[in-house]
Amino acid sequence: MLEVTNLTKHFGGLVANDDISFGVAEGEILGLIGPNGAGKSTLFDLITGFQAPDEGGVRFEGRSLLGLRPDQINRLGIVRTFQKLKPFEKMTVEENVMVGVMQHTANMSKARDHALTMLSFVGLLEKRRAHAGTLSTGQRKRLELARAMATRPRLLLLDEVTGGVDQRSIPGLIALIERLRGVGVTLIVIEHNMQVLMSLADRVVALHLGAMIAQGTPAQIQADPRVIESYLGTAYA
């Protein structure tokens, strides 16, 4: 479904992404791991058009995404969330979600109906009239998910699902992602919580200092000496 080939991005002398290649099959959940600064968010930026790669390419269902703007890429069926959450703070929760719906309809009331369906899906329906700025971090994550889903993506890129969320909210978020897979959305998930990732992901790609150091099943990744050395630490060995 998604094909990333030899993707490279430099920022000055820093190599953020170095010759990264992998594919994502339809219906799959691909985990993306690596320590801070490994280039995970940059990779999302390159795939979704927020940054242009120096070398390499990205193809979605056979079509090159190079040179397309984020909104054009979104219309093809790819959506991302942000590690640093970006709610439209002075808009209500339902208006936030409507922004995602409105590329499919100019009718405000139809868009609102659909936005409410998304909010009910992520369990934020009762907050629909609240300003997004008043939500807790866990609620903001749910809002980002609802907003992203409102654009009707086929590929969803989630940047840190459980980061900064209190322990109690994590199982709910994981259940949500499982449900997304259930309705046919393909996912790439950046996640630091290894337990979460191991239970969710079909395959994992590990990055370190911009380079891909391993890819495989969660079990293979957990046993990979380079991953253990650079990221997991010896406790996992």
Binding site: N74, R80, F88, M102, R112, S120, L125, R128, A148, L180
Partner: protein, 348 residues
């Protein structure tokens, strides 16, 4: 390929059904309808009751400034793009009406339309390069463009240079020439009409997809973009609408004053004034620009009377102090105060 299945399905959920049954925006209450009707009747009757030229003059100027402030409000208040060069569009509107009539005897009504078109084209030419700039840089760019426009018109002899244009007085065809010498009433009602039209546009904007995108762009442009919003396109729409309102205000001003020059219609202070007026009333609200103008314009006239209109900035010092007070106590502008008072009233 079809979108994921649950997206089209309507779950049989009573809570969801209840949420859907709510109106998207609460319709105006009966009290608001009555208040609106009273204000409307008062505005229509005002010049018939207060027939002194000065009494009418103040309202006419408020209409013109409020129209311009509403233009800034669309671009900055709703879409978040802070322009400090609105005088460019005001000046284009002013010059289009004046120049086409004095040189080619073209009716200023048509001149006004030409001004709107030219302003919108100029808005595009300003927007396409400057909307690549983020945040403060757009504001600075518009500030500079405003100064350039004034310099260009001061040196452009074909349109009158620094002395500007004295519009030929026409006694026989007031509606064709858009000049009314016997009474200020036509100016009053035309100004009120255009302001009402602009407010209707903003009313519609608040309830439309375009307005939703504007606010999303104001809040988080990257998130809006990731959700499929063509950010640059909607910023360009915002600046074009803003330019159109402002240009009409410029044409109205010209026809009312009948003499213009670059110092009057392109000054930086004009660009700043509309910002202050809107901020004072409430940025990104329908009534904010009007409330702000209605308070600030008479205030500036009064300070000019009491402190003398020698070009000193006494009125601006008072503006500044007021803005400071408002932003400390009512960060959302005077409209915040209005809501507070009205909210209290309805609970009582």
């Amino acid at each position: 390929m079809a979108a994921p299945g649950f997206l089209s399905e309507t779950p049989d959920d009573p809570e969801l059904a209840a949420a859907r049954a709510e109106p998207l925006r609460a319709p105006p209450s009966r009290g608001q309808w009555i208040l609106g009707a009273v204000i409307g009747v008062c505005l229509l009757a005002y010049p018939l009751v207060f027939d002194q030229p000065y009494q009418q003059h103040v309202l006419i100027m408020i209409f013109i400034y409020a129209l311009m402030a509403q233009g800034w409000n669309v671009l900055a208040g709703y879409c978040g793009q802070i322009s400090l060069g609105q005088a460019v569009f005001f000046g284009i509107g002013a010059y289009s009406a004046a120049f086409l009539f004095s040189n080619f005897q073209i009716s200023p009504w048509l001149g006004m339309a030409v001004g709107v078109v030219v302003s919108m084209v100029v808005a595009l030419l300003i927007g396409i390069p400057t909307f690549r700039l983020k945040g403060h840089y757009f504001a600075i760019a518009t500030l500079v463009i405003g100064e350039i426009a004034q310099t260009v018109f001061i040196n452009w002899e074909y349109v009158g240079g620094a002395t500007g244009i004295w519009i030929p007085i026409e006694w026989d065809a007031p509606w064709f020439a858009f000049q009314f010498h016997d009474s200020k009433l036509p100016y009053y009602y035309i100004g009120l009409g255009f302001l009402a039209l602009a407010c209707l546009c903003v009313y519609w904007l608040e309830r439309s997809r375009t307005g939703l995108y504007f606010r999303a762009i104001r809040e988080e442009p990257e998130a809006a973009s990731s959700l499929g919003t063509d950010v640059t396109r909607y910023k360009l729409i915002a600046i074009m609408v803003s330019a159109a309102f402002t240009s009409v205000a410029g044409s109205l001003f010209t026809q009312y004053i009948l003499v213009i020059d670059p110092e009057t219609v392109f000054p930086l202070i004009l660009s700043i004034l509309v910002v202050l007026m809107t901020m004072m009333g409430g940025v990104g609200t329908l009534w904010g620009p009007i409330i702000g103008t209605a308070v600030l314009f008479p205030l500036s006239e009064m300070t000019r009377i009491y402190f003398g209109g020698s070009g000193g900035a006494e009125d601006l010092m008072i503006y500044g102090a007021l803005i400071l007070l408002i932003s400390v106590f009512y960060p959302r502008g005077l409209i915040g105060l209005v809501h507070k008072v009205m909210g209290r009233g309805s609970h009582a």
